[in-house]
Amino acid sequence: MGTFIQLVVDGLATGSIYAALALAIVLVNQATGLINFAQGGMAVLSAYLAYAFVQLGLPLILAIIIAIVLSFLFGALVERFLIRRFERGDPDTAVVVTIGLLTLVTGICAVLWGYNNLGFPSLFPLTSVEILGAVVSVRSLATAVTIVVIMVVLQLLFLRTKLGLALRAVADNPASAAFSGLPVGRLLMVGWGLAATLGAVAGVLVAPQLTLTPGMLDTALVYALAAVILGGLTSPIGCVVAASAIGVLENLVAVYVPLIGHDLKIAVPFALIFVILIVRPQGLFGRKVVVRV
């Protein structure tokens, strides 16, 4: 029983890494209608920036704040000078552009900081507490709390604010939104900027655990995508729930179904996604896209 609970808790901690990235993906998708493969890469860049400021002697929290602000600018500039050209075109091309961006950003990180694992200081203490007989590190706990806060903020942003409405309107149909006076270009920049900001938060949250390398979030990206699709592209809550579920399920299956084991456990979330999507194509919490011809 102790092991079981510990596995669940561990799964939630792992899931929160995926969730952090997944939230950023949801944000970009809601605000621009795109899936951004570069999300992980941009988050890593932000974490490196924070790292660089720490190296310069700034206090960690200040370094993180500066990195977050710079990330907003970076995201906005990426939209303006790169993605803009592809927004109205073939969506496949736009996706490949984000893949190119991922490669470029990863490469830049590698050139500037190398491929060695760099230790990233943690905002939270390394101690752990016991809950229900399971040991949880304070860091994981704090990460999870931060993510829940972000999730709530995002949900409110999209559903309760004028900015959120405007972002969704632009993602839905930029040409039509412009007729109501929505500054499409600026809103898209804001959307990308916010997503990059969120990515930066994700990056500094998970960097202490994964240690900084240019490819730090490559694997997490796949899980994050899975969580986004499973939870529903439109739902921040959905993707956090899905990410946690994936983390927990993987652990349990790997341990309690020896035939699957730790090597094939990754198949489980995908099988689950598949079954769920057959029943609910919009994902657990997503809204169905209504299409009439």
């Binding site: 496949d92 995508l225 990754i266 198949a267 194509p281």
Partner: protein, 367 residues
């Protein structure tokens, strides 16, 4: 310009050009240095994989992040067959068939989903495929991989290995490209495009979106298997790394860079896949990631329609806005000045031959 284009469309000119191309392809490996042949061989390998991806994604619009899985599957089947002494034709058929059947089974389930959900199912293929390949080490050699040699030139041919491999790849790739080209030019090309554009509309034309997606996916898998066969012909070794997810992403990038929804673009995509690492290695092996990213973005920035759109872009840059086009196409005559019904521009040739027309199923580049 127009005259040249018209000449180029005449049947005998086309036949002549095709024959010329064939001769060049057949003679080239005899004259080229081994490394050039080896490079061309690898281009052939990936061009076939990209071609398959293009069918399902470029033409039919179903995001497929799992194409590399079928390449790997084909490679493993080939290795297994070769090492068990099967006849090489049988090996080839098996590589295509196994990949095709697995693709079909996956598609039967995945094609029920649309859009990004399909992306998720396909992403799972390489992600699960790698540990699976390690698990099934009896067939796959586990993480150490498996070697299989079957493309050493036989003595009677008097050829070098690279030349012999070139011909094997040429035969398979040429067949794949010709078949794909015929397929996307008629009934099925339109069906693919219709499903990509709007499934409800496609369905009302009698095209079952589900079956069409399954068909496209299966074809892509078969081509993936064929590409895997060629992979083994060229590399003679495969391991779980062959089917890693990152390569699937690279294939996707190669497809878009070559030209989504274009047969010729697939070849260019294959060339891109092979040349760019070579190029970036030559620039500076320590900066390959940056330079690959920069090249990819630069190419798409200049050519959002992919490399295949170069002639179109050149034409657009050189063409002066034709006045005939803008007035001639104007549709119904207004009621005030009573002219007769809509007037047609005299110069717009209407193809009278069904299949010899210009490549109309090729997708236009973006707006």
């Amino acid at each position: 310009m127009n005259a040249a284009a018209a000449t180029a469309r005449r049947p005998w000119v086309r036949i002549l050009l095709a024959a010329l191309a064939a001769i060049v392809l057949i003679v080239a490996p005899l004259a080229l240095p081994p490394f050039a042949n080896q490079t061309l061989v690898r281009i052939g390998v990936y061009a076939v994989a990209v071609l398959g991806l293009n069918i399902v994604m470029g033409y039919t619009g179903q995001v497929n992040l799992g194409q590399i899985f079928f390449v790997g599957l084909g490679a493993y089947v080939t290795a297994y067959g070769v090492n068990h002494g099967w006849n090489i034709l049988l090996v080839f058929v098996a590589a295509c068939a196994v990949a095709g059947v697995v693709g079909l089974l996956v598609a039967l389930a995945a094609a029920r989903l649309g859009g990004l959900a399909i992306a998720m199912v396909t992403i799972a293929l390489p992600i699960v495929g790698v540990p699976l390949a390690k698990r099934l080490s009896e067939f796959t050699g586990g993480s150490q991989g498996i070697s299989a040699r079957f493309t050493d030139a036989p003595d009677w041919s008097g050829l070098d290995n690279d030349q012999w491999q070139f011909y094997i790849v040429l035969v398979v790739a040429a067949a794949a490209f010709l078949l794909a080209r015929s397929l996307v030019r008629g009934k099925y090309g339109r069906a693919f495009a219709a499903v990509r554009e709007n499934e409800a509309v496609a369905a009302s034309m009698g095209i079952s979106p589900y079956r069409t997606k399954v068909l496209a996916f299966t074809i892509a898998s078969i081509f993936g298997g064929a590409s895997g066969f060629l992979y083994l012909a060229a590399v003679q070794y495969t391991s779980p790394e062959t089917l890693s997810f990152g390569h699937s992403i690279s294939l996707l990038a190669a497809m878009v860079i070559g030209g989504a929804g274009s047969i010729a673009g697939s070849l260019l995509g294959g060339a891109y896949y092979v040349f760019v690492p070579q190029l970036t290695n030559a620039i500076d092996p320590n900066l390959t990631t940056v330079s690959q990213g920069a090249i990819l973005l630069a190419v798409l920035f200049l050519l959002p329609g992919g490399l295949v759109s170069v002639p179109r872009v050149v034409r657009r840059l050189t063409r002066r806005t034709g006045a005939g086009r803008s007035t001639g196409r104007r549709s119904s005559a207004g009621p005030v000045r009573e002219t007769s019904q809509q007037t047609a521009p005299a110069h717009r040739p209407v193809p009278d031959d069904a299949l010899e027309g210009h490549e109309q199923t090729e997708r236009q580049d973006g707006p």
